[in-house]
């Protein structure tokens, strides 16, 4: 395979090096192009009115008030439902469960659930929450569906954070007589917390951007009010963007771009918090 021709071999190497460098950086340019394209299309529509108006048949009047508040409502309940369950599952799998077949099965199952297409969760939500529990197309039905969707992600990332806590911490706690629960509650969790929160925020940003499952449970309707109870119908930012983007008129595409700008600002803000937490955790506990 390796020919005795040094000049040629070095040439191939440097060509490959330059080519891979060019390919890598030019793929990253896509992000810049995307952001630039969305910004110049949507910036003219961006205003306080846009944030304060409800969706409308007229592009110049359309706003995202109901979508933004719907997203916030849903995110609140998704957090309340999925974070406790996800973190507790992660604690169980990492700290309590024995390495047997059942545990292995649960692990494979969670890994597979993380790969199930989001639209399948939508169908699950439609059958279980909308129809069986008769929650209709409410905030609650959407939140439950979305919680099931992001649970595997929260579990997987929380487990990684818990696993990163050094064994010596646990042994130290046991040595002074702490029980297992006390060890976990007072030592493992506080140390793993920044890592867990990073995972939680990243899965929340997934929940904010998901569209398909909510369309399945019927959240794509004309909603010109802010939800007041958990049983009210709602719409969310990405659904509103989808609605505008799928219309043929170019004016609505501008509105969609403005909606995307808001959505990306929210996501960027959440990512910034996650990155901050990650750096913070790296600094504080350096074992």
């Amino acid at each position: 395979m390796i020919k005795n021709n040094l000049k040629n071999r070095k040439k191939i190497d440097s060509i490959f090096k330059v080519a891979s460098k060019i390919i890598t950086w030019s793929s990253l340019v896509v992000l810049a192009v995307l952001l630039y394209h969305v910004s110049i299309t949507g910036i003219s529509k961006l205003s306080l009115d846009f944030l304060n108006n409800f969706p409308s048949r007229f592009p110049h009047k359309a706003g995202i008030k109901s979508a933004l508040s719907g997203s916030i409502w849903m995110l609140t309940f998704v957090t309340l439902i999925s974070v406790p369950i996800g973190v507790l599952s992660a604690i169980y799998l990492e700290e309590y469960s024995k390495k047997n077949r059942i545990t292995r099965f649960v692990e494979i199952n969670i890994a597979n659930l993380a790969g199930v297409p989001s639209i399948v969760y939508g169908i699950l939500g439609l059958a279980i929450f909308v129809r069986f529990f008769q929650l209709d197309r409410s905030v609650l039905a959407g939140s439950f569906t979305m919680s099931l969707l992001i649970l595997p992600v929260i579990i997987i990332s929380s487990r990684e954070a818990i696993r990163a806590v050094p064994k010596s911490i646990r042994l130290g706690a046991y040595a002074v007589g702490a029980t297992k629960y006390q060890t976990i509650r007072h030592h493992v969790i506080p140390i793993a917390l920044p890592g867990i929160l990073t995972g939680v925020i990243l899965s929340m940003s997934r929940a904010i951007g998901e569209t398909a499952p909510l369309i399945m449970i019927g959240a794509l309707t004309y909603v010109a009010f802010v939800p007041e109870t958990v049983m009210d119908p709602f719409t969310t930012l990405p659904i509103q963007v989808f609605n505008w983007a799928s219309r043929p008129q170019a004016a609505f595409h501008e509105v969609a771009a403005a909606g995307i700008i808001i959505l990306l600002i929210v996501l960027l803000f959440m990512n910034a918090i996650a990155i901050f937490l990650r750096n913070y955790s790296n600094k504080k506990y350096d074992f």
């Binding site: 390796i2 190497d13 992000l31 699950l124 569209t211 990405p238």
Partner: protein, 299 residues
């Protein structure tokens, strides 16, 4: 006193363990429910439509008379997107991973990695918008006979979407190869390219292949971008310039319309979703399998 305290705290210990265990079994319940719902509703559907008609029929027209329920057009539409996006994301993703793990300075890594994370975090509906308003017009300049909704635009955008995932999974796999193997290669006087070709890629092969399978599975289930960009015309075609419909896009189309519940049109989405679930599940299990079966363990 002491004993009572002990027993109480013991009870507390057991109580918490049980609660924690309950939470982790919820994931099994989720899987069971998904399978149960897809199975029962699809069963209703297959009572009326023979399963062979569904799997091998070449005409998909469930909403208009005369109805016909051959899933192949949807499957071909999906495959067109999957293959197109794989052709983009797999080679590029691998090359990015190689650049990151082998050539990039640590400063470059610190810039590239977060950008990849941001790209991976952008909602799919945004990519769909991007395809519709940016990629499609460019395609229509190059190929004037391309339709407004076309499979090519959908494939490209799904390819861009799964690129960060392929890149970071391959990067993880390449990073896991021990330094000593690389250094052994260099000690024999090989160039970087030869180390990559002869040592890094073969050693990380299981991780790389499993990341490819995961990416394909992700493209298979991708919904919003293809709904926006690739259209809603189920066609038995391999021409990427035509409008097609994927399985996921069909499910969205039905749920957007006002199809009455319980009818056969409504049950089609469960049959299609069942097929989608089975295919992605197989791919995910397969990816998991090669990851563990063929992993080279170095220590």
């Amino acid at each position: 006193m002491k004993l009572i305290f002990k027993r109480k705290s013991k009870l507390k210990e057991i109580f918490f363990e049980k609660i924690f265990a309950l939470c982790s079994y919820l994931s099994i319940l989720t899987t069971v429910l998904i399978i149960y719902i897809l199975a029962t509703e699809s069963f209703q559907f297959f009572k009326q439509i023979p399963i062979t008609d569904f799997l091998f029929g070449t005409h998909w027209e469930p909403l208009l008379e005369p109805k016909s329920f051959g899933v192949l057009p949807l499957l071909f539409g999906t495959l067109l997107i999957v293959i197109g996006s794989a052709l983009i994301s797999i080679p590029l993703g691998l090359i990015i991973a190689i650049y990151l793990s082998q050539y990039a300075s640590s400063k470059a890594r610190r810039i590239i990695k977060p950008i990849l994370e941001i790209l991976a975090g952008i909602p799919t509906v945004v990519y769909g918008y991007f395809a519709l308003t940016f990629i499609t017009p460019i395609i229509r300049i190059i190929f004037p006979d391309a339709e407004i909704f076309n499979a090519l635009s959908g494939s490209i955008v799904v390819g861009i979407m799964i690129l960060p995932m392929v890149a970071s999974l391959c990067d993880d796999a390449l990073q896991a190869v021990p330094k000593s193997l690389k250094q052994g290669g260099y000690a024999l006087g090989t160039t970087s390219f030869e180390v990559i070709k002869g040592i890094l890629i073969p050693s990380a092969f299981s991780g790389i292949i499993s990341s490819f399978v995961l990416a394909v599975s992700r493209a298979f289930g991708e919904t919003m971008a293809v709904t926006l960009a690739a259209g809603a015309t189920p066609r038995f075609t391999i021409n990427p310039l035509e409008s097609i419909q994927t399985m996921t896009a069909y499910i969205v189309q039905v749920s957007l319309g006002d199809t009455p519940q319980g009818g056969i049109e409504y049950q089609t989405i469960f049959a299609v979703a069942g097929l989608l679930f089975i295919v992605t599940l197989m791919m995910n299990l397969f990816s998991n399998y090669i990851m563990h079966k063929y992993r080279e363990v170095y220590d």
